[in-house]
Symmetry: C2
Subunit: 178 residues, 2 copies
């Protein structure tokens, strides 16, 4: 993937369409990643993102400890690996190795970028007040990388139970909405 | 639209793909609606949904007062009206009338269903702790209506600045993820 530094002011537009994400975290022995679909933008700039993690998950423990992660956006050719990553725990499996994904050093955080993903967002935990009640983390995106050569990325949008809507084309309308 | 009562346990799968939504509220003179893209599921059942509203908006005031709303999911043929609704305020405009949308009585809440939408979710405000800081409301969906005759709804997914990804087809993979 041709990773280019992407303006933080435009990051909301990567997440607002609702793509399935990978969340990577650094660990003592090895990095981990999970599949995540419950997320939304909360602020334009600096970009804040809310996401929901299960309170007992392995990634949740690593995120609580490290307070850093990478949100990566995979596209349709990675669908099998999106499901595989979501169906096992980093407690038992080295997911990067098991599923042929490549961790790359990030610029601002210890968590790795995922080389195969279309976009990678380096994040720091901004607010944990809602974690115990809802599993909601508020993250701040501090650095963004996108393969800007891809115009209409075929992102995956989970409809539940292994059904994924694959992103279609883009229409452009005159609008004052940011 | 052929509205059928839809199981609350499956509502998360309507929102998880990240479609643009309309949020309708009841008002003293007339109902209002707004366009909304910042939302995510928070719990499967009872279905809880987080969404972000601007703190100064007209809908925000109506939602704070009534503590009820309807989240409706429009499809691509309504794209022009999705943008039109998002580009004006209910303070100045009777949006249902101005844009030819039809409010219908809901079963559980005072806010109206939107006849032209593919899906309508009747909601009550569940948690306002994050409203002042982030504009985040946690809503509980108490009743859901879907046109189940539509298999692959052409939902709209906002990429920012009037660019909308239109939902493509659905792929189904074997997965243990709910």
């Amino acid at each position: 993937m041709a990773r280019r530094n992407y303006p933080l002011a435009k990051v909301y537009g990567l997440l607002e369409p609702g793509p399935v994400l990978w969340l990577s975290t650094a660990g003592r022995e090895r990095p981990n990643l999970m599949t995540l679909s419950w997320h939304m933008p909360v602020e334009f700039e600096p970009p804040l993102v809310a996401c929901v993690l299960g309170n007992q998950g392995y990634s949740d423990g690593l995120l609580r400890k490290s307070r850093e992660c990478v949100l990566a956006i995979p596209t349709a050719e990675l669908a099998d690996r999106v499901v595989a990553v979501g169906n096992c725990s980093g407690r038992e499996v080295d997911k990067f190795r098991a599923f042929g994904l490549t961790p790359l050093p990030a610029a601002e955080v210890a968590a790795p970028l995922i080389a195969e993903a279309w976009a990678n967002l380096e994040c720091r935990v901004h607010d944990t007040r809602m974690v115990n009640r809802y599993g909601i983390y508020i993250l701040e995106v501090v650095k963004a990388w996108v393969d800007t050569s891809v115009k209409d990325p075929k992102t995956l949008h989970h409809r539940g139970m292994g059904a994924f809507m694959v992103a279609g084309g883009t229409i452009r309308l005159k609008s004052a909405m940011k």
